[in-house]
């Protein structure tokens, strides 16, 4: 699964630690999501989407597809 968590976080000038704190997870979890080593659970994905005020499918998308961002 691909994602744009790093870009969304950087746009807000948040560190991985800041984002981890807002999501109540470890910094390593945020890092593993950003580096696409770990796909978050649906509740965590929804929490991330809510935090960035975007839809889940705008942040996460299958590796073979492109993000919905900008398509609609």
């Amino acid at each position: 699964m691909k994602n744009s968590v790093r870009e969304l976080r950087a746009a807000r000038n948040w560190s991985q630690g800041d984002l981890a704190e807002k999501l109540a997870v470890s910094r390593q979890t945020v890092n593993a999501i950003e580096t696409e080593k770990y796909d978050p659970s649906l509740p965590l994905a929804l929490k991330i989407a809510r935090l960035f005020s975007v839809r889940v499918e705008e942040i996460f998308w299958p590796a073979e597809a492109k993000a919905l961002k900008g398509r609609d």
Partner: protein
């Protein structure tokens, strides 16, 4: 911010529970020698040992559910790998016993071997996410 520490599930509560279970297993094994084989007392003591191990599993499971999402994922992956390895080892050793190798009492060694392999598995799998 929370720092991921997958081995945090082996907290004080789990260690105390594990020591309590170990003490009960030793005491009940010693007690059971006082009764004849297949007696009701021996069977009850054996059931008590099963119950103690099951209770320890529940305590550990509760401890894991308190961990960070990724840490839980690491634990479940490690448990799956270790379960497969243990089944292979126990079944494999049974074949070797029939071929003349010394007998291993898995009721004594299975739990410590499983716990050790699990801890190593957690540390190994956690490296993937660093």
């Amino acid at each position: 911010m929370r720092t991921i520490k997958p081995l945090r599930c082996f907290d004080t509560r789990v260690i105390v529970a594990a020591l309590g279970v170990a003490a009960w297993l030793i005491a009940s094994a010693w007690l059971s020698r006082l009764f004849p084989p297949a007696s009701t007392a021996r069977v009850l003591l054996a059931l008590g040992q099963v119950g103690a191990v099951a209770a320890l599993v529940l305590v550990i499971r509760r401890s894991i559910t308190r961990l960070d999402e990724l840490a839980q994922h690491i634990h479940y992956q490690a448990l799956a790998v270790v379960a497969a390895v243990m089944v292979t080892a126990i079944a494999g050793w049974a074949f070797l016993e029939r071929a003349g190798m010394p007998r291993i009492d898995w009721s004594v060694y299975a739990a410590p071997a499983f716990t050790l392999a699990w801890a190593v598995g957690v540390m190994w799998i956690a490296r993937r996410y660093e």
